[in-house]
């Protein structure tokens, strides 16, 4: 026993003696040009997006042996943790979150990327990077920053549209999607006649149809923001507001809304569509098919159309869209490597992988959109102007919940158009 312990100890000693020069030799072998990038991610490690990003980063490290990427999976908590960390001087080279949020909130911490957009990268197939990124997103990015510069690299774009079940439309004999409000009501009527419940929505998206409708009526989000910020209530007397309310009242009166609409807590309404009980989801982002994929399976026949033009409105063509985006720290020690990584993740193969794995939209203009959201590609391409999320209704945090609650009652047929306006005015 004693002998064996002595033997073990001597082996350990020998190892200890030789390991010192070995490790020193190891240090000498390391690359003096090695760069380390720290990436703070908005994803949780188990999300499909994270899985794809992880593989993509591994491949990037393989083809760029001098770059080592350290990932910290923050999840959506990054909204709260990023800025304190940056203020405290934590080394973070690249981060991601909602495109609008990162540019509007963290532009002062970010590197201006205009020069990098002009260059080509292995994943851009010989084209310059700016030729692979949707033009609408680039234009949008510039409007978000204070100096019309490019302060982020977008990926996973989305567009808000009306989602429908193509099978229901076929069975109801509907051959084309509605482009204006009258056609929309006619579609609802046909669906109802065919035995379907035409329309539903959840509490989480309830503000979208009203915001979009008012944008179509007034022609711009500023008017909607002014309306919701008006404490005197005078702007609510505008005949256009009553027209809007009347048009939604017609949906409720026609019996076109799901009976559950007032009580739908997300994702109950989405499930109504996914389980074939309702034909149309009023408005949602391109992520909807992925969110309900567990219920529908990949073969559900999804269709999309843009929010219809409204009577006496300023025409269609405006829509809500956006993306996630990567941002690079202005103090990053290896900005070239950081941008090369962002380009690697958002164009070519890995953009396609991300799109395929999340049934989301690709950012690279040369890529195919997944079949479930294919019709959204045309909607995206046809957009002429940007409508913020909620169409500007969320501009006033005090009035917004009141408007949303009354709109829910209006859609559910619990109040008339006139009561809708009167209730908002009295509660403001």
């Amino acid at each position: 026993m004693k002998k064996s312990i002595g033997f073990l100890l001597s082996i350990l000693m020998i190892l200890a003696v030789f390991s010192t020069p070995l490790s020193a030799a190891g240090q000498q072998d390391s690359n003096p040009d090695a760069k380390e990038l720290v990436y703070w991610s908005m994803w949780n490690e188990t999300e499909p997006q994270a899985m794809v990003l992880k593989d993509a980063i591994k491949e990037f490290e393989k083809s760029n042996p001098d770059v080592k990427v350290t990932i910290q999976w923050n999840g959506r908590e990054i909204r709260k943790t990023l800025q304190p960390a940056l203020d405290a001087g934590t080394e973070i080279d690249i981060w991601d979150e909602d495109l609008e949020r990162i540019v509007k909130t963290w532009q002062p911490y970010a590197l201006k990327l205009d020069d990098y957009y002009g260059q080509s990268y292995p994943s851009t197939n010989g084209k310059s990077f700016e030729d692979t990124v949707m033009k609408s997103l680039q234009a949008h990015l510039k409007t978000l920053s204070t100096d019309k510069g490019l302060y982020a690299v977008p990926y996973q774009p989305y567009v808000v549209s009306v989602f429908y079940n193509k099978d229901h439309f076929d069975k109801a004999g509907i051959t084309s999607t509605p482009t204006n409000w009258d056609e929309f009501l006619a579609v609802c009527s046909k669906l109802k006649a065919a035995g379907f419940t035409p329309v539903t929505i959840d509490d989480a998206y309830m503000d979208l149809p009203l915001g979009m409708h008012l944008n179509r009526k007034f022609g711009n989000p500023d008017a909607v923001e002014a309306l919701v910020k008006d404490r005197s209530g005078k702007l609510w007397d505008d005949p256009k507001v009553l027209e809007t309310a009347k048009e939604f009242e017609a949906l409720a009166k026609g019996g076109y809304m799901s009976e559950q609409v007032a009580t739908n807590k997300w994702p109950a309404g989405q499930q109504e569509v996914a389980t074939d009980q309702v034909s149309i989801y009023f408005l949602n982002g391109t992520w909807l098919p992925n969110e309900v994929m567990g219920t529908t399976g990949p073969d559900f026949k999804w269709g999309q159309f843009a929010y219809p033009a409204v009577p006496n409105g300023a025409g269609a063509g405006a829509g809500t869209f956006g993306a996630q985006g990567f941002q690079i720290n202005k103090d990053c020690a290896a900005p070239d490597a950081a941008f090369a990584l962002a380009a690697h993740l958002t164009s070519g193969k890995w953009d396609q992988e991300l799109s395929a794995n999340t049934f989301g939209a690709p950012m690279d203009t040369s890529m195919e959109w997944p079949v479930q959201i294919k019709e959204s590609a045309a909607i995206f391409a046809s957009l002429k102007s940007f409508v913020p999320w909620s169409g500007g209704l969320a501009a006033d945090p005090d009035a917004f919940p009141i408007v949303k609650a009354e709109f829910t009652r209006l859609l559910a047929g619990q109040v008339t158009a006139e009561e809708f306006i009167a209730n908002i005015k009295s509660n403001l």
Binding site: K265, A268, P397, Q414
Partner: protein
């Protein structure tokens, strides 16, 4: 004696210093901050802008903050009455010598062990859902179609739905406290009362209630503190933006400091200083409740 005093100082100093750093300093800083416009929590002092009572004025002028106070008041009062009455009833039954006491006690306490997020999601999706939820199934089974069609989570009813779900989870906690209080009362009192011909109600009225005063006082203070911190249930009932029926001061504060969950908050609306003011007001509210409770229950200390 002298030596022991210096030893006390020596041993207490680390604890006092730690307490001062992690409690006193943040409290003072928060109170101080509530008089400034501070865009984000991590802004250095140089960026703070003195506004006096401006933040408090803004809060009082905000209809949603007032609404959040109303909701909090209703949770405190109606939730409190409901939880305490049910908890007293259960603790009376469980201390009356009923069989399987420890099983029932564990079963009633169980909701406290489950995470609040899981509980709230369960209530929303499996109990309140007006298409296949528990209440729908139950009332449909009884043939009460109007009750079955009740829209629990609509804007008109969601406050009550949230209150019921929250209170359900809180009962078990107070049952344990009340049971401990009742079991501490010597059984001789009840026996003597029985011999004198007192029924259950008389015993409860004249023995249990007076001897439980201290327990009630502590429980009311604890209930007040936990309702002021009401946050998770509101967040799960309206995860993206608070609704009129679900907003509470803590959610209002969260949105002021960190912005909204999905919609991008106009950066000019972010105000950590006003968030600090909400925190100060809530602390004052708890202190006020504490003194009111002490006033109501004063001089009633009984020893037994």
């Amino acid at each position: 004696m002298k030596q022991s005093k210096s030893m006390m100082v020596l041993f207490l100093t680390p604890a006092l210093v730690t307490f001062a750093t992690v409690f006193i300093y943040p409290i003072i800083r928060t109170v101080f901050m509530s008089f400034y416009y501070v865009k984000t929590v991590t802004d250095s002092f140089g960026k703070w802008e003195f506004v006096g009572f401006g933040n408090y004025g803004k809060l009082m002028a905000s209809s949603m903050f007032i609404q959040s106070l109303k909701n909090l008041g209703n949770i405190w009062l109606w939730g409190g009455i409901g939880v305490f009455l049910i908890a007293i009833l259960f603790s009376m039954i469980l201390t009356s010598g009923v069989k399987g006491k420890s099983f029932y006690r564990a079963a009633i306490y169980l909701p406290n062990v489950v995470s609040a997020i899981a509980m709230a999601t369960m209530w929303i999706q499996y109990a309140f859902n007006s298409k296949y939820g528990l209440f729908f199934q139950f009332f449909s089974f009884l043939g009460m179609d109007n009750a079955a069609a009740f829209q629990w989570t609509s804007p008109d009813n969601q406050f009550y739905a949230m209150l019921i779900a929250y209170s359900f989870g809180m009962v078990g906690y107070y049952v344990l406290i009340f049971m401990a209080g009742i079991e501490k009362i010597p059984s001789d009192y009840y026996e003597a009362a029985k011999l004198e011909g007192a029924n259950m109600f008389h015993q409860f009225r004249h023995i249990t209630i007076p001897l439980m005063t201290d327990v009630f006082r502590t429980s009311i203070v604890m209930w007040s503190i936990s309702t002021v911190a009401f946050f998770i249930w509101s967040q799960v009932f309206s995860p993206l933006d608070p609704d009129v029926g679900t907003i509470v001061p803590m959610v209002y504060m969260y949105n002021l400091v960190f912005g909204r969950n999905l919609t991008l908050t106009d950066p000019t609306l972010l105000n950590a200083g006003a968030g600090a003011a909400v925190g100060v007001l809530m602390t004052l509210l708890v202190l006020l409740t504490f003194s009111m409770v002490n006033l109501v229950f004063r001089d009633k200390k009984l020893e037994f």
